[in-house]
């Protein structure tokens, strides 16, 4: 099988619960060289792109979906956006639910847009993490092997 526009709308089950921790927020901020005090302490907020950590767990479902036949070594990250009602905060317990929103073929690649909806266990929508991946088709010689 290979990915096609027929897969638009495919929705995966929510990921395991992710608990935003003070340690992980601090580690992520340090990795950005960001020493802002808002990222420290038990009431810290997470950096604006932190939801990627949760979304990436949902991407795994899509990347390993046998129906899509994605070859990870031919996937690159093309576009990324975050739309957030608020910052994630230390103590938030969230899941990510992934939907394939769009599939387009341009030249020798498929452009796959996915949306991970990140929400709390209480049902609050926090962030929509939209990622477009470019999945290159294999070269002719690879196919004939």
């Amino acid at each position: 099988m290979s990915i096609s526009p027929d897969h638009v709308g495919r929705r995966y089950p929510p990921t395991d619960v992710y608990v935003v921790s003070q340690a992980k927020v601090g580690e992520f901020a340090r990795a950005l060289g960001d020493d802002h005090p808002a990222y420290r302490g038990p009431r810290a907020c997470a950096p604006p792109t932190f939801p990627i950590v949760v979304a990436a767990q949902a991407w795994e479902q899509m990347f390993h979906d046998p129906d899509l036949g994605l070859a990870l070594e031919r996937v690159v990250h093309g576009e990324q956006s975050f739309e957030s009602r608020r910052a994630l905060m230390v103590g938030d317990e969230v899941t990510a639910t992934l939907t394939i929103e769009r599939v387009r073929t341009r030249g020798s690649a498929d452009w796959i847009t996915s949306v991970a909806e990140i929400g709390t266990l209480e049902g609050e929508d926090v962030s929509r993490v939209r990622a477009t991946f470019v999945h290159s088709h294999p070269h002719q010689e690879e196919e004939s092997r």
């Binding site: 580690e27 802002h36 808002a38 604006p48 792109t49 950590v53 975050f82 608020r86």
Partner: protein
């Protein structure tokens, strides 16, 4: 850097420019980001792997470059929890030399003001090449 919000929507009209910042990235920074983000793709730490798939060498995580572009805005705004939207396209790789690293320069300006919402558009340049498409960061200062 100040913890308090340093910018208000009234002060920052469209066209207001952010101070340019340059971030020096090293291989250690990429490894640190890999650990923090969970993205262990070898293209970000193995030259042999990166060159085998056609890259000049190890490249930075696009998400790291994006996060630094957003940081240029949050450093200026003061309060990072005000960010509501950020979006970008990954157009060119940031090649991080094993010894010399790479310098990425971020410039930006306010592209729209709507009530308490400011949109800042950031450009990221490495070796005179734009490595991200225009990165839009929308903050709500209300």
């Amino acid at each position: 850097m100040s913890a308090a919000a340093t910018v208000t929507a009234e002060q920052a009209g469209a066209g207001t420019e952010l101070p340019a910042t340059t971030v020096h990235l090293t291989r250690a920074d990429l490894i640190r980001y890999a650990g923090a983000s969970g993205d262990f793709n070898p293209i970000h730490w193995s030259d042999r792997f990166a060159t085998a798939i056609g890259m000049p060498g190890v490249v930075a995580h696009g998400m790291l470059t994006m996060a630094l572009a957003v940081k240029a805005v949050t450093d200026w705004v003061g309060d990072p929890s005000t960010v509501r939207v950020c979006s970008t396209r990954f157009t060119r790789p940031v090649v991080v030399d094993e010894l010399d690293g790479a310098d990425v320069t971020f410039t930006g300006s306010v592209s729209a003001v709507e009530g308490t919402r400011l949109t800042v558009t950031v450009q990221a340049v490495c070796e005179d090449v734009k490595v991200l498409g225009p990165t839009r960061v929308e903050v709500d200062l209300g």
